[in-house]
C-alpha cells in the first residue's frame, strides 16, 4: 500500500491496515501540483462572541477529496460551512480571516453569497429532499437560477452522475420522500450536481445511512472527483481513509481554566501520512482510537 513517496516519508509507525485501508489517496506532492480552489488563512468563527474555531490555515486543491475529521465539537462542520457562506444564515455567527476561492475573497463585501452557493454545492448530514417529486427536486436548482436548456436532460444527467437514474427513471413524478435514506442522499447529491457546481461540500453525508448505502456514496465520491472538487466532513475515520486524498484533523482546545473550548486545526496532510505517520501526537492518538 505505502509506496512511491517513501522518499519523503518515515517508515510507518502505525499499521494502517489495522485502522483502515488508505486505498485511493493521492500523494501530497501530486495534490499540491493541482490548482488551489480554496485557501484559508487565519480563519476564526464565533457565535455571539464565543469562539468556535480559531486559527485555521489550509488549502483545498482541484479534483481532490479533502476530509475533515475530529471529535464532536471540534468545529469541522462549522468550518465546512464557511466555504459556501452557510454560516451567514446563522444569527450571531461571525467569520474573520480570509477564505480565498480561486484567489478571490469569499467574504469580500461585493461577493454575493447566493452566487457562491450556486458554485459551491452542499450535501447535508441528514438527507433533506424537498417534499416534491424526484424530478422537481433536481429541477429546483436550475429553475431558481434560470438555467437554460432541456430540463429533462439536465435531470437525467444529474441522476446518472449520482448513480440513481436506473433506480428512479420510471418514477420521476413520484414523491422524493418515498425513497430510501440512501436513495434520498444520492438524490440530494444529484440535486447539488444539477446546477453545475465547481465544488461539492459534504457534511457527514453518510452518517445517517446503512453500510451498503454508505459504500455507494463513497464509490460515488471517487467518481465525482474527476469532475468536481470534494470536501467532506466525517466522524468516521475509516471513511476518510477510504475516500480522501488529503485529511485535516481538528481537535478541541480547552482553555486552562477549563471553561471555554474551541476547535483548532491540528494537522493537515495527505491521508496516507495522517493515517500512517502523523507528525502530531494528538493525531496519532485519535487515528489509533486512543482518544475521541
Amino acid at each position: 500500500m505505502v509506496s512511491e513517496d517513501m522518499t519523503q516519508m518515515e517508515a510507518p509507525r502505525i499499521d494502517s491496515g489495522r485502522i483502515a485501508e488508505v486505498s485511493h489517496g493521492l500523494d501530497r506532492s501530486e495534490v499540491e501540483r493541482r490548482e488551489k480552489v480554496f485557501s484559508v488563512s487565519g480563519l476564526e468563527v464565533s457565535y455571539h462572541g464565543n469562539v468556535a474555531l480559531d486559527g485555521v490555515d489550509l488549502a483545498v486543491h482541484k479534483n481532490t477529496v479533502t476530509a475533515f475529521i475530529g471529535p464532536s465539537g471540534c468545529g469541522k462542520s462549522t468550518f465546512i460551512r464557511c466555504f459556501n457562506r452557510m454560516n451567514d444564515l446563522v444569527p450571531g455567527a461571525k467569520v474573520s480571516g480570509t477564505v480565498l476561492y480561486h484567489g478571490e475573497d469569499l467574504y469580500a463585501r461585493d461577493v454575493d453569497a447566493v452566487e457562491i452557493r450556486r458554485r459551491i454545492g452542499m450535501v447535508f448530514q441528514k438527507p433533506n429532499p424537498f417534499p416534491k417529486s424526484i424530478y422537481d427536486n433536481i429541477a429546483f436548482g436550475p429553475r431558481v437560477l434560470g438555467m437554460k436548456g432541456s430540463m429533462d436532460e439536465r435531470v437525467e444527467n444529474a441522476l446518472r452522475q449520482a448513480a440513481l437514474w436506473d433506480e428512479v427513471k420510471d418514477r420521476l413524478k413520484e414523491g422524493a420522500l418515498g425513497l430510501s435514506g440512501g436513495q434520498q442522499q444520492r438524490l440530494c447529491i444529484a440535486r447539488a450536481l444539477a446546477v453545475n457546481p465547481d465544488v461539492i461540500l459534504m457534511d457527514e453525508p453518510a452518517s445517517a445511512l446503512d453500510p451498503i448505502s454508505t459504500t455507494r456514496i463513497e464509490d460515488l465520491m471517487h467518481e465525482l472527483k474527476r469532475d468536481y472538487t470534494i470536501v467532506i466532513v466525517t466522524h468516521n475515520m475509516q471513511q476518510a481513509a477510504r475516500v480522501a486524498d488529503m485529511t485535516a484533523f481538528f481537535s478541541v482546545l480547552v482553555d486552562e481554566d477549563g471553561g471555554r473550548r474551541h476547535g483548532i486545526l491540528v494537522e493537515y496532510d495527505s491521508t496516507r501520512k495522517i493515517f500512517t505517520t502523523p507528525s502530531d501526537k494528538r493525531t496519532e492518538d485519535y487515528v489509533t482510537g486512543r482518544f475521541g
Partner: protein, 301 residues
C-alpha cells in the same frame, strides 16, 4: 413479584396484600376510563342533542322558499335569500382580505423578523392578544373607523372588513404554525443550491405550509361566517328585501336567525331553526373543503 410504587413509604405503611392491590389498581383503571367516557359524552352528547333538536324543529320550514324567498312579516312567505347571499359575500371578502394579509404577516414574522429587535417582539405579543379580543370590540372599532371614520357606510364591504379584523389574528397564528412546522433542513437545502431568500420562501416554505395555512384560514372563515355581534354593531340591518350588493345595505344569516328568534310568532322560531341548519351546512361544507385541500396537497408529496 415487586410492584413499583414510588410514592408509597414502606416504613409507615404495612406491605399491602398483593391481591387487594391488584384489584384496587384494576378498579382505578376502570374508574378513570369511565370518567373519560363520561366527559366525552357530555361534550359530544350536547352537540348531538343540539343538532337533532335544531333539525327536528327546523325541518318543516326547510324549503326552497327559505333559500330563495325574501324576508316577510308572514312566516309562510319568509325566506333568507338576501341574508344567505350576504353571508357568502362576507365570506368571500374575508378570504380575499385576510389570507394575503395574514399569510404575508406570518411570513414576515417567521422568516424575516429579527427576534432580537424589540418591535418584532411587541408585534408578536400583540397578535397573540388580538386573537383573544372579543368580536364586539372589533364591531365598535369598525363602527368608529370604517363605517363612520373613513365613511364606508353600513354596507357589505364594511362588514367584510370588520370580520377580516376579527379573524386576521387567527389566520396569522395558524399560518405561522404552518410555516414553522416546515423543517429547517428544507430551507438549508434550498439556500445551498443558490436560491435567494424570496425563492426559498416562495417555492419551498410556502408550498410546504399550504395545507396548514388553508386549514387554518378556512376554520377562521367558518368563525367569521357565524359571527353576529360585530355585524349588528356595524348595522347589518334586519329587513332587507332585495339582493345585497358590495356597497349596499345587507343582513347576514346569523343576524337574520337572531331576529327571527326574537319574533313572538312560533312559526318564526321554526324558521330560525331552519336558518340555523342552512348556516350549519355552509360552515360544515367549508370545513369539508379545508379537509379536502389538505389531503389533496399531501398526496402530491
Amino acid at each position: 413479584m415487586t410492584v413499583f410504587e414510588p410514592h408509597v413509604e414502606r416504613d409507615h405503611v404495612p406491605p399491602p396484600d398483593e391481591a387487594t392491590t391488584r384489584r384496587g389498581r384494576a378498579w382505578k383503571n376502570r374508574l378513570f376510563k369511565a370518567a373519560m367516557l363520561f366527559c366525552m359524552f357530555v361534550a359530544f352528547g350536547t352537540l348531538v342533542v343540539l343538532l337533532v333538536d335544531t333539525v327536528v324543529t327546523g325541518w318543516p320550514a326547510l324549503s326552497s322558499q327559505l333559500l330563495t324567498g325574501l324576508p316577510s312579516t308572514v312566516p309562510d312567505e319568509a325566506g333568507a335569500r338576501p341574508a344567505i347571499l350576504a353571508t357568502l359575500y362576507l365570506g368571500a371578502l374575508v378570504l380575499l382580505f385576510s389570507v394575503p394579509v395574514g399569510v404575508l404577516t406570518a411570513i414576515y414574522l417567521e422568516e424575516y423578523a429579527n427576534r432580537e429587535r424589540w418591535w418584532n417582539r411587541v408585534i408578536e405579543v400583540n397578535i397573540q392578544n388580538l386573537a383573544a379580543v372579543p368580536a364586539i370590540v372589533y364591531g365598535i372599532l369598525g363602527l368608529a373607523f370604517i363605517v363612520r371614520g373613513i365613511g364606508v357606510g353600513r354596507v357589505v364591504l364594511a362588514g367584510g372588513l370588520i370580520l377580516t379584523l376579527v379573524v386576521l389574528p387567527t389566520v396569522v397564528v395558524a399560518s405561522r404554525e404552518a410555516i414553522r412546522s416546515v423543517p429547517d433542513s428544507i430551507r438549508q437545502g434550498a439556500f445551498a443550491l443558490g436560491a435567494t431568500k424570496w425563492q426559498v420562501v416562495w417555492r419551498q416554505v410556502l408550498p410546504a405550509a399550504i395545507p396548514g395555512i388553508a386549514t387554518g384560514s378556512i376554520l377562521a372563515l367558518s368563525r367569521a361566517v357565524g359571527e353576529t355581534a360585530p355585524l349588528i354593531m356595524v348595522g347589518a340591518i334586519t329587513y332587507v328585501a332585495f339582493n345585497p350588493t358590495l356597497m349596499g345595505p345587507y343582513t347576514a344569516l346569523p343576524v337574520q336567525i337572531y331576529n327571527w328568534t326574537k319574533q313572538p310568532d312560533v312559526d318564526f322560531q321554526t324558521l330560525a331553526a331552519a336558518g340555523a341548519i342552512v348556516l350549519l351546512v355552509i360552515v360544515l361544507s367549508m370545513n369539508a373543503v379545508a379537509i379536502f385541500l389538505r389531503n389533496r396537497y399531501r398526496k402530491q408529496w
